[in-house]
Symmetry: C2
Subunit: 181 residues, 2 copies
Amino acid sequence: MALTNTSYLVLGMLHTGAKSGYDIKRMVELSARFFWKISPVQIYPELQRLEEKGLITGHDDLQSPRRRRSYELTDLGLTSLRNWLTGNDKMPIELRDIGLLKLFFADAIEPEQAISHVRALRERSEAMAERLHSQIQPAAAEAQEAEGVEFPARAARLGIEYHEWLVEWYGRLESELEAEL
Amino acid sequence: MALTNTSYLVLGMLHTGAKSGYDIKRMVELSARFFWKISPVQIYPELQRLEEKGLITGHDDLQSPRRRRSYELTDLGLTSLRNWLTGNDKMPIELRDIGLLKLFFADAIEPEQAISHVRALRERSEAMAERLHSQIQPAAAEAQEAEGVEFPARAARLGIEYHEWLVEWYGRLESELEAEL
DNA sequence: GAGCACATGTAATTTGTTACATGATTCC
DNA sequence: GGAATCATGTAACAAATTACATGTGCTC
């Protein structure tokens, strides 16, 4: 089977400093999560597949007090990651937002209820911006310290500013709808 | 089985003016697509399930020159749609963006290549904004004419302005990265 | 010693995608 | 007469989620 997006996520996270499956799980949770989600159970079988293909090598980590299997990229794995990063396959944006779907259908409910939904959307983005600021950005800064990577912090900044922009946008829509009551 | 997001998409689209499965497919393509995608094959079985549950009624459309099955919401279906719209279940934003994932990992490639990736992201949003403007917004305006619904046009406006914002954001990042060369 | 975080998995189910299949009508 | 669009599906496959399962080590 060919490499999937999950494969590249794993390769990329190993390049960004993760060592074990658990590391990857945590890093995704603390960084990529707002634009790429993955369930932990996908990670371990993927690590095995990548090892079989020779893109990563794994060894049981005996220094660690717990059972722990550490992996690192092979030359082949790094090349493969770079080829993917620079290749120009299609990059569809797949947004899947129930909140927006509800907004789209808001003609079916009372104006007051629509306003209250828009408020919920605004609050959702407020919470998201706050979370990105307090958790994701510090984690990115830490990765920059430890691994010298600069792009995770840029991605975090994009996330924060995106949700701040949304907060303003929904705020304006709220005022607009209130004026029409 | 309980109702899924696909169920509500179908109910909502019937409320917004769609009559047949094919209508729904087209409307999704021309409206919700940028925040909610669905494959056509999911629609027909879903219509059957909803009819069994009494949320919609279907009848073979004999006026139409082609084979065509038309559906409409029952009172139960409309109530169900409204309850979903006003209910406050969780609304996770599920963004799944390979382009952003690649940006996140861009430390693994040469600065010039990273810049060229950011440019590709900018161009992607330019194309998306253009497409929303030339296709999605007119379709929403038409729905407003025909069905009196106002929110599809608002959702389209959000999409356009979002991508315009992204174009500017990526443009700024591009300049920043070029300055660092 | 209780609870949490670490650490790795399996099995079953649900969901979504791709490829395939069919046939009518409209437009050029 | 050929291409595009209308219109509805089936079957096989791939991907993702949920629930379950297990055990260790650290901190309070």
